[in-house]
């Protein structure tokens, strides 16, 4: 019987003790004497969020296939337990063995969103690992970061020994072998880091220095050791079929956000929306073989007992074998009463037919993501969704019995005008009008329900908008009020509901997204002042953040509200994510010209990702040959 790290008394008084006991179905147990490497995999948020993340499950499965390693999980203790652990000085532990993290060889932290930065400090702090890389000794774990936020790791680089840039499937084996080697030879931590820095995809921040111009922009990046690469290039799984995929994912005892089998059908996206970071980072799009997916789906359902399966990808409608895969799932899942939850598909006759088969039409809603209210602005962001397509889709759907529509927009996109924002209300109104045209009075069971949601635009590194200025909080809120007024003035306003996100969180996210090394001290200060769980609006303390910036003498507007010059050196320029800066700049120019760029299947736009020689870049051979030159 496993012994728990927390006493019964503590577990009885915290909310959801199941978060901390491990032992779930498919959790991997090994004998610690029989492994050479202990790897703790962390998602710095609460269990229910962390357990829902596919990337961790893939890596957990991969590491545990290595015979010499045991990978365990750790999440942020919720605020109630956090207080107890500080008070009683209990070191943070891994769920499987319940052993302290500080005794592990590696602590891997996946960094999925900027607002978890203070939780990274919480995890280190509770683990009793020195917060700064430079203060760690031979007995401390190697702290390694991965995930989308590592494409600009500079704001948190002091807290990490290294970052893994790119997809985890490729280089961890090499890294672990190097680690074992260094250990066997008695080489210390420093030497290991130096050698690791030469593995493709590995970035060791302490081996570089950065100098700045008087205006605060970056002057130069200087490698501090010989033989350290000047650029670190993204790692990418060239073959997404013949690689790791968790056939036995861990099944939590308690309800988590993603309480189902998740099938990642492809990685990447052909579309190139200009605001979307994932669309650039994961280029080129690579489809998984449909037979592999069918096989995985059945295995995972059998091994978990989940009642639901969900397809995952950035744009599932673009998966070329989607009809075949869905037919297969509908046939096999129906028998076992497994629900199929569809990712947001493009609304057309095909998807409506599928939705009709797998969901209760009356209860489900249609989702459109026009992202911008006018065609002009949709051209700026390269979102190839026209009003005509939306209205046609809505008409078909209303005729098929749907009466709920969700619409997602962004406010504060580059070049946005009042007319663009007015377009949001207009579009909602037109959709409502289509409902009343399409559905005869006697068939209506009530009003059509339209929910419009806006989020505030955050410019991200490695997107064509990385040069753009972000709106201030006041500008954002003005835009939200203007949107609300616009919706309120519509004929069908009673059928339209409007939601918007918090503005100050989006501004802070924008600061971190494009920040540099000088933000490390601010994040530390804010954490020391009590900031944690910033992604949870009820725990987000904007005042504390503002005062942390103030006390560190750092101006947040420098990072968010400033439009960058085209020749500015960005903090993340030393990383090569596959797409070139020239391509992004071309796209930034085209955005300003309101010109659209065709998707990768229509035409290659020579973004740079073809060098990986996989996915869409090679699937058409001839046509995309230009990209390969």
């Amino acid at each position: 019987m496993r012994k728990l790290a927390l006493s019964d008394e503590i577990l009885m008084k915290v909310e959801k003790p199941a978060r901390y006991i491990g032992g779930e179905v498919n959790a991997v147990m090994k004998k610690k004497e029989q492994v050479q490497i202990r790897f703790a995999m962390c998602f710095p948020d609460v269990y229910e969020i962390g357990m829902s993340h596919l990337g961790i499950q893939i890596l957990y499965d991969m590491f545990n296939q290595f015979e010499d390693a045991w990978c365990e999980r750790v999440y942020s203790p919720w605020v109630d337990l956090d207080a107890v652990m500080r008070e009683e000085k209990i070191p943070l532990f891994a769920l499987e063995s319940q052993d302290p993290i500080k005794d592990f060889d590696f602590l891997g932290i996946t960094i999925q969103y900027e607002m978890c930065y203070t939780n990274i400090l919480q995890v280190l702090d509770l683990s009793q690992i020195p917060l700064h890389s430079k203060e760690r000794g031979e007995n401390d774990p190697i702290v390694i970061g991965g995930g989308p936020c590592t494409y600009n790791p500079e704001p948190i680089c002091d807290f990490f020994d290294m970052f893994y840039i790119g997809e985890g499937e490729t280089r961890y084996r090499e890294l672990l072998d190097l680690y074992k080697d260094c250990k066997a030879q008695g080489l210390g931590r420093k030497e290991f880091l130096k050698r690791a820095a030469k593995i493709p995809g590995i970035y060791v921040p302490s081996l570089y220095d950065v100098t700045y111009h008087l205006d605060g922009t970056i002057n130069k990046r200087i490698p501090l050791e010989d033989g350290i690469p000047e650029t670190v290039t993204k790692e990418l799984a060239v073959d997404v079929t013949g690689t790791y995929y968790p056939r036995r994912p861990v099944v939590p005892f308690i309800k988590v956000t993603q309480d189902r089998v998740v099938l990642e059908i492809q990685r990447g996206c052909i579309r190139g929306c200009r605001f979307c970071q994932a669309g650039q980072l994961y280029r080129p799009v690579r489809e998984r073989d449909v037979e592999m997916l069918k096989n995985c789906a059945m295995d995972m359902l059998k091994n978990t007992g989940h009642e639901e399966i969900s397809l995952s990808s950035l744009s599932s409608s673009d998966y070329s074998r989607l009809p075949e895969l869905l037919d297969f799932l509908i046939e096999n899942c129906g028998r076992d009463k497994v629900n199929i939850s569809l990712p947001s598909l493009r609304i057309d006759a095909f998807s409506l037919d599928v939705m009709n088969k797998v969901q209760d039409v009356k209860k489900s809603s249609l989702t459109f993501a026009p992202e911008a209210g006018s065609q002009r602005l949709r051209n700026v962001i390269n979102k190839g969704l026209t009003e005509e397509v939306i209205l046609d889709g809505a008409r078909l759907a209303f005729a098929g019995g749907w009466s709920r529509v969700k619409l997602y927009f962004m406010l504060g996109l580059p070049t946005e005008t009042k007319e663009d924002i007015e377009g949001i209300g207009d579009l909602c109104n037109k959709i409502a009008a289509v409902f009343y045209e399409t559905v005869p009075k006697e068939k209506r069971t009530g009003r059509v329900q339209i929910v419009a949601s806006t989020s505030f635009f955050v410019p991200k590194p490695f997107t064509p908008f990385q040069w753009a200025a972000q709106c201030t909080k006041e500008e954002f809120l003005d835009k939200a009020y203007f949107t609300r007024a616009g919706i309120g003035s519509q004929l069908n306003q009673k059928s339209i509901k409007y939601n918007w996100h918090e503005a100050d969180l989006s501004v802070l996210e924008g600061v971190f997204a494009r920040g540099d090394r000088r933000l490390n001290q601010v994040i530390l200060k804010a954490y020391e002042m009590g900031c944690m769980y910033d992604a949870w609006s009820e725990y987000y303390k904007n005042d504390l953040w503002l005062s942390a910036f103030d006390r560190c003498g750092v101006d947040p507007d420098f990072y968010s509200a400033r439009e960058r010059k085209e020749d500015e050196i960005f903090p993340w320029d030393f990383l090569d994510c596959g797409v070139t800066k020239e391509f992004l700049l071309r796209e930034w120019h085209k955005a300003k010209e309101e010109a659209v760029t065709p998707n990768c299947r229509m035409q290659c736009n020579n973004c740079g990702a073809a060098r990986y020689r996989t996915g869409v870049c090679v699937e058409k051979g001839e046509t995309n040959a230009a990209a390969l030159r």
Partner: protein, 225 residues
């Protein structure tokens, strides 16, 4: 066809709540490939009924649920298949096919027996054993029971069918019928309150030994006889 399953719960999984245990078994039954029956309608669910819920923190050797199946092989096969997909801390102890007329697990429950141990942080009064027995030997033990609807005065004595001190533990068999059920910690708290003992945090380690139904002759018998 209805099947009754008996299982135990011990170790770290004692922190998994009743609803989550239900979800756990819904998934376990699917992993085990059991031909469980589903309700009709747009969101079909397995036809399953759990006997009395076990509080978070308690362990047990006498948990039960019933499920409806479309087909089955035999009891031993089902037992084995379920045990192949259990986690550490939950063991399937018995599987029994039910006769047509038999009432469902939840409705049948009339009693439950418990062994109560004490936290090592609990310094018990030296004479607690004698005091406990004389507490129990009173002819009436009037108490106020809090229910969802409010408060009600009851005679605790009537709800305790058996009570013994066994070594350093207390054994009791109490009413577990829906509506009239008594929690073992309530018995313990009532006693210590009346002796003026201050309880530490999480003072009791409660283990359910068995869950009972009433046989036709009026006697309490385990849900699987």
């Amino acid at each position: 066809m209805k099947v009754r399953v008996k299982f135990s719960k011990y170790g770290p999984v004692k922190f998994i709540g009743h609803l989550d245990i239900m979800h756990y078994f819904q998934k376990a039954v699917r992993r085990a490939g059991i031909d469980v029956a589903y309700s009709e309608g747009f969101s079909p669910h397995q036809i399953m009924s759990f006997a009395s819920p076990l509080s978070v923190g308690h362990t047990s050797d006498g948990e039960y649920f019933d499920m409806e199946v479309n087909s089955f092989t035999d009891e031993a096969d089902m037992l084995q298949r379920l045990n192949q997909v259990m986690v550490e801390g939950i063991d399937v102890l018995q599987v029994r096919f039910l006769d047509k007329g038999e009432g469902n697990a939840m409705a049948s429950v009339s009693g439950a027996s418990y062994l109560v141990a004490f936290s090592d942080k609990f310094i018990l009064p030296s004479n607690w054993k004698d005091a406990f027995l004389s507490f129990y030997q009173q002819s009436h033990i009037p108490v106020v029971k809090k229910t969802k609807k409010g408060q009600r005065e009851i005679d605790l004595k009537e709800s305790i069918y058996q009570l013994e001190v066994r070594g350093d533990k207390v054994y009791m068999l109490v009413d577990a019928g829906s509506g009239s059920n008594i929690k073992p910690e309530f018995v313990m708290e009532t006693f210590f309150e009346r002796t003026g003992t201050v309880l530490p945090e999480y003072p009791f380690r409660i283990h359910r030994v068995e869950t009972y139904k009433r046989a036709e002759n009026g006697r309490l018998v385990p849900l699987i006889v």
